[in-house]
Amino acid sequence: MNPTHTRISRRLHTCRESNRTALLSFVTAADPGPEYTVPALHGLVAGGVDILELGIPFSDPEAEGPAIQAANERALAQGITLAQVLEMVAEFRYKDADTPVVLMGYLNSVLAMENFAERAAEAGVDGLIMVNLPPEEGDRLQQQLAAHHIDLIYLLAPTTTDERAQQIAAKASGFIYYVSLKGITGASHLQTDEVAARLQQLRGYTPLPFCVGFGIKDATTAKALAPHADGVVVGSALVNSMAAGGDVAAVVERLQQQAADIRKGIDAADQ
């Protein structure tokens, strides 16, 4: 596949050309209510987000910290389904045809939907991150997704061996999601030096961009990692903002401001 053919590749390519570290945001769909999601996504883009990750609510989010667990519970309490999540992406696409959208979640949600790849592509989804799907088990889904030009994005972790990292890099598409620490989302023991050294080494295995997530919560942490990564992912901190109360306009404004602050931190590092 020609890399310029997908929104993800195009966006990361453009960022790289303009020496801009991409900002990736994560929020959970339908948290705290279905009406918040699409306006929130537009607000994040307006605040400077380059790639949107949207969580598929799941009953058993085993790799998530307390913030995103709670977001999953709030969303499920609204009776949200994967079909509705796809509708949200489609609605987002009416106004924004350029910003890549990556769905993130757990395999059982996707397995339960027939023709997921086709329906996700129709809605305008560009990538999929399955927290509990290692490459050994992922071939079938990856083929289905590839047929619809959706990237299956694999994760590498601090504990991934070099040999395995090479195997995963060979299968990866879109970008590599580097998990910056041993732990769950929203953890707070990020070690920038370790991450930087490891990223430098991993880059020897693939020309794909590396986006770093877990433990990045504000302008300071984003700024510290920006020089070493192609993109940084902010999740739990945004999810906490979504949950902090207020009507849609208030939440969107808060989120946009938060994204803009983080963007400013990254821009300072990029200069």
């Binding site: 058993d60 085993e62 994967l82 079909a83 059982n108 339960a112 290692p134 088990e137 590498l156 504990t159």
Partner: protein, 406 residues
């Protein structure tokens, strides 16, 4: 060699942890390395004479194995059909078969040099069995338990604390066993360098379903030899209750190549399969992925894991070990269910006829025996895994009888 579909020449799982279409390793990338390490170590030590000796010594002198095979004469007479033999796992130290697995895994943790073990628990039996071996080996021990189960199983919570374990109530999700397992996975992914996760059933990611089965298989190995020695033949049927399925896998496994021996697992039928309020994924579930493996699951049309119901906390789990899914699909084992009421009736029957107080989990297997032994001839026999004793369930049963003991 290709595996015959009837189960003879049975050799599962594959090197990458698949039992037919089931099993595998569906986990966050951070854990892959630890699972590889565990699989490698286990393959190294499982046939190592020193490891086997160490395990055997503990099973003999700390746990009290072999457990007896017991002909339940008055129960057999009452039912009027097949002879009923009980494999007395209730007589293990700590009162259930679970300790066979925790001893084995704690010895693995020791070999890996990991000073801390964690576990999930529902009824508290696996938590107690883990706390027990942690005390025995001087390991730090944290046990995750759903907040609701902490309330329901206060006796076992206190037992764990007495042995120095820290019991952590889990308040996320449905606050039961599945959520305790999620929380234990989160702990493990964070503390993977110094912590071994002792999973309590034949579920989880590879190599757990294999390791737990192998440690539990001492039940079936003993029972098979005891049948031949005491009775002179193998049983016609082997029956065990199935939640995650470790006691069933433990007694089934050594009989899998004995294709004339029927293997029957009994799931928790709760208020009845038709009611939807049960914990019987092999009877009324669909294939999915949870807690690291592909297997039958109780999940809704959108893939969300359903809340389950069983009178027995130890069976109250929406998934089942992947090897059971495989045995079901190849037809080597069949899976029935027993309702709460049927289990309670069997519980009372064993108490009154044999003077044995079975666990409510175990009572589900006994309910199948109550219904099916009368349909069999007197020269046939049933081997039941009497997987645990019921002292822990006294408060639940008394509550059903309207008696307050507190």
């Amino acid at each position: 060699m290709a595996e015959a579909t009837d189960g003879s020449n049975y050799a599962q799982p594959t090197d990458d942890g698949h039992f037919g279409d089931y099993g595998g390793r569906f986990v966050a990338e951070t854990l892959t390395h630890a699972l590889d390490d565990l699989a490698r170590l286990y393959n190294e030590v499982k046939d190592d004479p020193d490891f086997k000796r160490e395990l055997h010594t503990d099973l003999a002198h700390f746990v009290g194995r072999p457990t007896p095979l017991y002909l339940a004469e008055r129960l057999t007479e009452t039912l009027g059909g097949a002879a009923v033999y009980l494999k007395r796992e209730d007589l293990n130290h700590t009162g259930a078969h679970k300790v066979c697995n925790t001893i084995g895994q704690a010895l693995l943790a020791k070999r890996m040099g990991k000073p801390r073990v964690i576990a999930e628990t529902g009824a508290g039996q696996h938590g107690v069995a883990t706390a027990t071996v942690a005390a025995r080996l001087g390991l730090q021990c944290d046990v995750y338990m759903g907040a609701e189960d902490v309330q329901r199983q206060s006796l076992n919570v206190y037992r764990m604390k007495l042995m120095g374990a820290n019991v952590i109530p889990v308040t996320s999700g449905s606050k039961t066993l599945k959520d305790a397992m999620n929380e234990a996975m989160r702990d493990w992914v964070t503390n993977v360098d110094d912590t071994h996760y002792i999973i309590g059933t034949v579920a989880g990611p590879h190599p757990y379903p294999m390791i737990v089965r192998d440690f539990a298989a001492t039940i079936g190995q003993e029972a098979r030899a005891q049948m031949l020695e005491q009775v002179g033949c193998l049983p016609d049927v082997v029956v065990a209750c199935v939640g995650g399925g470790s006691n069933a896998m433990g007694i089934f496994y050594p009989f899998i190549d004995d294709v004339d021996v029927a293997l029957v697992g009994v799931e928790a039928g709760g208020h009845g399969i038709a009611s939807g309020a049960h914990a019987a994924p092999l009877n009324d579930g669909k294939v999915g992925v949870l807690h690291g493996n592909r297997s039958y699951l109780m999940s809704d049309a959108d893939g969300q894991i359903k809340e389950t119901h069983s009178i027995s906390a130890g069976l109250d789990y929406p998934g089942v070990g992947p090897e059971h899914s495989h045995l079901k699909d190849i037809g080597r084992a069949t899976y029935a269910s027993a309702t709460d009421d049927e289990a309670m009736a069997a519980f009372r029957l064993l108490n009154s006829r044999e003077g044995i107080l079975p666990a409510l989990e175990t009572s589900h297997a006994l309910a199948w025996v109550s219904a099916n032994a009368p349909l069999m001839s007197k020269d046939q026999s049933i081997l039941v895994n009497l997987s645990g004793r019921g002292d822990k369930d006294i408060l639940t049963v008394a509550g059903i009888d309207g008696i307050s003991l507190t």
